[in-house]
């Protein structure tokens, strides 16, 4: 009896330990690049011997999200910077968008955020309000567009420097569309033309191939639709729920019909899509011919199938189409020990022509006017594709909006779950509407 009792105690103790140790996954490999700092004294003796001796070595941690093209270009730029400033080395951390913010928030909580952080408009206000970012005062901003510059300000203080201009539009598979004998979509097309285009293409395609993406669960895409009808963003600036019932039902009924007609993929396929992932992106796989994409992604888009892709503005309503937005920002952590060095790097990153040569448009159209003028003759067709999308969107663009504080999970998770029920035909659009309203109340209507 005692043996069994002992085993029980041992097991109960084990239970307690096991139950609380919930699996956490560490990831991300930090390679230190730019090892040149060690030989600086020897090499630069002839140039500036005095200065080198007074400079202490600086190691900047820098973190960004992006695709492989951006990773490669950024790492090359960091190497270049180390070559020019041998006392500065970098410890880069990079990943895709997935998991980036989980990682950053954990680091920030541990007071261990990287010195230089790539920031997104949706998170900037939150991080600035929590005193995680430092005000940027020593970066040369003379050649930056006023609107873009202001997008990095929170309560009139500059916490983030915009790195590029961006626009949300459509990317299409030119090759596949031309093969089906349908004309490629033109800039300024309307929503009606867009849906009709989908039906026309589908008529020429076989089974297992579709024309458009199912945007039932894409809250941003819906918001742009609602804005183009003059009904505003899905949530007001002060955080009030603002989806218009009739417009929303209209949108969901359109996609319900498109699903039945096979113009958009079935739900089981739609839920697998992962933007620009060569194995999961539905357009890269040849399952659809057109999808929503940002101008800053034009180079990554081109690598899927060089020369075969095109970009065109988002469909428009009476009140415009798509929007222009800053592609992303650099911020400096308030916990950083090297705030001046970090700002020096940002200054170089946005203003230096050598940096621009390496980075091209991997973070959108260069934010500095002088750099853009310098770059224009050297740009690749893929770069120009992105720039053209921005130019074409500009005259019809709607104001850029982002989820106010606290709402990001509504679009990121809850809305999608309800929309999936719709996509799998478990509920009707009317029932889905009830659920959306109910869920929105949790976020404070």
């Amino acid at each position: 009896m005692n043996v069994s009792k002992m085993r029980k105690y041992a097991l109960i103790a084990f239970v307690l330990v096991m139950a609380l140790s919930i699996a956490a996954c560490g990831s991300g490999k930090n390679d230190t690049i730019g090892t040149n700092s060690t030989n600086n004294a020897a090499n630069n003796n002839t140039d500036q011997p005095k200065e080198d001796k007074t400079v202490d070595p600086v190691k900047l941690r820098i973190m960004w999200w992006g695709s492989q093209t951006r990773h490669d270009a950024t790492i090359k730029a960091l190497d270049e910077y180390t070559k020019l400033n041998p006392h500065v080395t970098f410890e880069p951390e990079f990943s895709g968008w997935d998991g980036y913010w989980d990682k950053l928030s954990t680091q920030a909580a541990a007071n261990n955020a990287p010195d230089i952080i790539q920031m997104d408009a949706a998170y900037l206000a939150d991080y600035a309000a929590r005193n995680q970012l430092t005000e940027l005062t020593t970066v040369n901003l003379a050649s930056i567009d006023e609107v873009l510059l202001n997008s990095g300000k929170v309560q009139d203080k500059l916490y983030a420097v915009a790195l590029g201009n961006n626009a949300f539009g459509l990317a299409y598979n030119k090759e596949a569309i031309e093969k089906s004998g349908i004309a490629v979509p033109q800039n300024g097309l309307t929503w009606e033309q867009y849906f009709q285009f989908g039906r026309d293409v589908k008529a020429k395609l076989g089974d297992g191939q579709y024309a458009l993406m199912d945007d039932s669960k894409a809250l941003d895409m819906y918001s742009l639709y609602q804005m183009s009808k003059g009904k505003g963003y899905y949530v007001t600036d002060d955080g009030k729920f603002n989806i218009d019932k009739d417009t929303w039902l209209e949108w969901q009924n359109i996609f319900l019909k498109l699903r039945e007609e096979g113009v958009v993929p079935p739900a089981t396929l739609s839920v697998t899509d992962k933007e620009l992932d060569p194995n999961l992106d539905l357009m890269a796989q040849g399952k659809v011919v057109i999808r929503g994409l940002h101008a800053a992604q034009s180079v990554a888009l081109d690598t899927l199938k060089p020369g075969a892709m095109g970009m065109v503005t988002l469909p428009r309503g009476e009140h415009g189409a798509g929007w222009l937005k800053p592609s992303m920002f650099w911020s400096v952590a308030s916990s950083s020990k090297y705030q001046i060095e970090a700002q020096k790097f940002i200054d170089w990153f946005i203003n230096d022509q050598g940096a621009a040569d390496i980075l091209t448009t991997t973070r959108g159209v260069p934010v500095s006017k002088t750099v853009l003028d310098y770059m224009e003759p050297k740009l690749s067709p893929a770069d120009i594709m992105g720039i053209d999308l921005i130019k074409n969107t500009a005259p019809i663009a709607q104001p850029f909006k982002t989820s106010p504080k606290g709402w990001s999970n509504f679009g990121g998770k809850d809305y999608g779950t309800i929309a999936e029920k719709l996509m799998f035909n478990q509920i009707s659009p009317e029932q889905a509407w009830e659920e959306v309203v109910k869920k929105a109340k949790e976020y404070g209507i």
Binding site: V17, A108, E420
Partner: protein, 316 residues
């Protein structure tokens, strides 16, 4: 009371005698276990205590926590649909995956307990994947096997059967995860195998003289003799299954339509997606209580189906 207790008392006496004379010995002992001790204090005990505290705050990771009393627990238990959904999914998963996995592990263990030539080679081959199979790599592999144009569907296509989106259909996604977890039977299997080896052969020989069939032997000898091991595996797997995270996170992200939205995944989303550490901590403690209850139920039930050899001897 029992022999073991007397032995322990004796050990303790001699230990405390030595203690008076030589104070170094406990220091040396603690030094030897210090790697574990530091890990336990820093990575288990401290986080547990902090999470108990955070569960009563509105801690958001980036701002200092503020005391909110029972508010988190109140919200979870009275006004959280997703909590109910994820709990349902998790219970469903536990109820199906644990017994299936144990049955499968036992079957394989029995096969590997046969007296045939080269059995150690077979054992090695079957257990080997468990050694290299880190959970994330296996999960990604599984995703590729069961996805729309994955391995399974390509084979089906050869036979003219139309492919099926196993992990992307809310009706089959959870079952696919159950199959994956059942397939990861390695550790339970090894424990069963050791248990099987400890059953004295005399029992089988005696019973076959009495004319017992193989099936009768299995139910009357193997299962009862193995019952303490089954209990051990059952408890271990139940606890593990309640905390199921990796596979669901990698393969389905909880979707489609939350059909694989495990409790731990929901907890993670609250903690790192919505930065509600306080709320997530409360969820974790509720999970602890649920696991505690489930384990207690298993132990209570074990009185009726677990047999210990020394028990019988003691009664005799």
């Amino acid at each position: 009371m029992s022999a073991l207790n007397r032995v322990r008392q004796r050990q303790w006496k001699s230990f405390s005698l030595r203690l008076r004379g030589r104070w170094e010995s406990p220091v040396a002992g603690y030094l030897f276990i210090s790697p574990w001790l530091i890990g336990f204090l820093g990575l288990t005990l401290y986080p547990m205590i902090m999470s108990l505290y955070y569960a009563f705050t509105n801690f958001s990771l980036l701002e200092a926590p503020q005391w909110v009393g029972w508010k988190n627990y109140n919200l979870i238990l009275t006004n959280d649909d997703t909590f109910v959904t994820s709990l349902k999914v998790t219970l469903l998963f536990v109820v199906f995956s644990v017994p299936l996995k144990l049955i499968f592990a036992l079957l394989v263990a029995m096969l590997l307990n046969k007296d045939i030539k080269g059995i150690s080679a077979y054992r090695l081959m079957i257990y080997f994947p468990s050694l290299i199979g880190t959970s994330i790599a296996v999960a990604i592999l599984w995703k590729n096997i069961f996805s729309g144009d994955g391995f399974i569907n390509q084979i089906l296509e050869v036979f003219g059967i139309e492919g099926y989106s196993w992990v992307n259909d809310p009706r089959t996604a959870l079952s696919t995860l159950v199959v994956l977890v059942v397939w990861q039977f390695g550790s339970s299997m090894v424990i069963f195998l050791t248990g099987l080896k400890q059953i004295p052969r005399d029992y089988y020989e005696a019973s076959s003289v009495d004319g017992a069939s193989k099936i009768r032997q299995f139910f009357s000898i193997t299962l009862p003799s193995l019952s303490p091991i089954i209990l051990f595996n059952l408890v271990l797997q139940t606890i593990g299954s309640f905390q199921m995270f990796t596979q669901a996170f990698i393969i389905t992200k909880g979707g489609p339509i939350n059909s694989t939205y495990m409790y731990a995944l929901y907890l993670y989303d609250r903690a790192f997606g919505r930065l509600q550490m306080g709320y997530a901590s409360a969820l974790a403690w509720i999970l602890l209580i649920i696991i505690g209850i489930a384990t207690a139920l298993i132990f209570i039930s074990s009185r009726y189906w677990v047999f210990y050899e020394n028990e019988r001897k003691g009664k005799a």
